[in-house]
């Protein structure tokens, strides 16, 4: 059985470590916040100027001056801080954020990512995505393995305009977990875990890139 969105984000949450400073992208990555293991403190950074983002506010706590990067009203946890945009992106571009979890439209076999524009469609802008993939220590992508039409999203080289080059460290999809590996100057994703009941053939059919297989292939526990 392929993983549900909830299980994908639960598996992503296993990558978190106590004390990590983490930026979660809009959409599925946001759900990772629901699965932070008990007893672990993870600081969520919102690039509009908040470190220590908490849950959505109760109705009587709503504050128009306190929003996240998705422009949603949020709260700040004890120990949180507010700062300006240059300081926020100094955290991101200066390599101070431990992990970013993002979505993607395409990923190349060398770890390039495209997730900000489709030629011919209205371009809304890039926000902080290019800064995150270029500056954060470890970039994890959670996404569906294929498009809605069933076409592979992990491909030899991206056809869409890039967000960043050779910057993705790990991919978690409903089918498998992949880690970027380097061997004799070549970079490829290595499949390390399969979803329960999913076969190597299932992954290979849904992927249009050269991938490597771990000799120690495990089942995803999520």
């Amino acid at each position: 059985m392929p993983l549900t969105r909830d299980q994908i984000t639960r598996r992503a949450a296993q990558e978190l470590r106590d004390g990590f400073y983490v930026n979660l992208g809009i959409g599925m990555p946001t759900l990772v916040a629901n699965h932070v293991p008990a007893g672990m403190q993870v600081w969520l950074q919102s690039e509009n100027g908040l470190l220590g983002m908490g849950r959505f506010p109760y109705d009587d706590e709503v504050d128009a001056d306190l929003i996240n990067a998705g422009k949603q009203t949020v709260t700040a946890v004890p120990g949180a801080s507010f700062f300006d945009g240059a300081t926020s992106f100094a955290m991101i571009r200066g390599g101070h954020i431990d992990m970013a979890i993002l979505g993607a439209m395409e990923i190349s076999e060398e770890g390039d990512i495209a997730n900000w524009m489709v030629p011919g469609k209205m371009v809304k802008g890039v926000g902080g995505a290019m800064d995150l993939v270029a500056g954060v220590k470890r970039v994890v992508v959670t996404m569906e393995h294929t498009t809605k039409k069933g076409e592979p999203k992990i491909i030899k080289s991206c056809t869409l305009p890039l967000t960043g080059k050779a910057c993705i460290d790990m991919i978690i999809t409903e089918l498998c977990v992949m880690h970027m590996r380097e061997n004799q100057g070549r970079r490829r994703f290595e499949v390390t875990e399969l979803a329960p009941g999913v076969t190597r053939q299932d992954v290979e059919r849904a992927t249009a890139a050269e991938i490597w297989w771990s000799p120690d292939l495990k089942a995803i526990e999520a």
């Binding site: 109760y58 945009g85 809304k124 802008g125 800064d131 270029a134 500056g135 305009p161 960043g164």
Partner: protein, 233 residues
């Protein structure tokens, strides 16, 4: 003593706004925007403006109001998803847009205020936003050169000011306002409260008064774009 406190948003913009000037406008979405100064800017009727702002407001609030009246010719922004009129003018070619990655946007403005004409960053290397720009290698990595942004007039929003222009922001309404206050040849701050000099602890000042030329107190509407809540159990 120079009086920085003005009685109304219109008075605070008096003599500053002309056709074709470049403005910086603070805010992230509708959070921390100088909402009444934007209304006064609209009422000035100035045209062919270049607006440097993270977003373009929504159709009927924030900078969206100046798109309705076609006063903006060019925008320098990071993301503009929330505005239908923006999309229409952009697709028809009436409006020019320069998209900038958000960290580069913040840093270009900071550089403009700090007198740094250019800097290098890894952000956007290998993407369409770095095409045609100078690249340079440092310590084994490739970086792209980005230039400063400056404005004729910066319109910022703060929570509190004192009479000499020191500013304090509130929560995430700070966003790009402090850098924009530095990068405007003239900076006008819209605030919710003005206190006498000495009533803000110098340790607590976010923007020192040297960067602020004019102050106006207004009552903010503070419209919320995405009201998300947790139900009480």
């Amino acid at each position: 003593m120079i009086n920085k406190v003005y009685p109304s948003p219109q008075a605070a913009l008096d003599g500053l706004i002309r056709d074709g000037i470049t403005l910086m406008v603070g805010g992230f979405g509708l959070c921390g925007i100088p909402e009444k100064l934007i209304l006064a800017l609209r009422d000035s009727g100035a045209k062919n403006l270049t607006a440097i702002s993270n977003n373009a407001g929504v159709d009927d609030w924030g900078l969206g109001l100046l798109l309705q009246t076609r006063q903006i010719r060019k925008m320098v922004s990071t993301y503009v998803g929330e505005n239908d009129e923006f999309a229409r003018q952009f697709l028809s070619g009436e409006l020019e847009i320069e998209f900038v990655p958000q960290g580069t946007f913040a840093e270009r403005i900071r550089a403009g205020g700090a007198g740094i004409p250019a800097f290098f960053t890894r952000t956007a290397v290998g993407t369409p936003l770095a095409e045609g720009k100078e690249h340079h290698d440092f310590e084994g990595h490739t970086y792209v050169m980005e230039r400063w942004l400056k404005a004729d007039v910066s319109l910022v929003k703060a929570w509190k000011a004192d009479t000499v222009g020191n500013l304090v922001y509130r929560k995430t309404a700070r966003n790009f306002n402090p850098m924009m206050a530095m990068a405007g040849r003239v900076t006008v701050a819209e605030v919710e409260e003005i206190v006498p000099a000495g009533y803000i602890d110098p340790d607590s000042v976010h923007t020192p008064g040297i960067f602020v030329d004019r102050i106006v107190r207004t009552v903010s509407v503070k419209r919320i774009e995405q009201r998300t809540t947790t139900p009480r159990a």
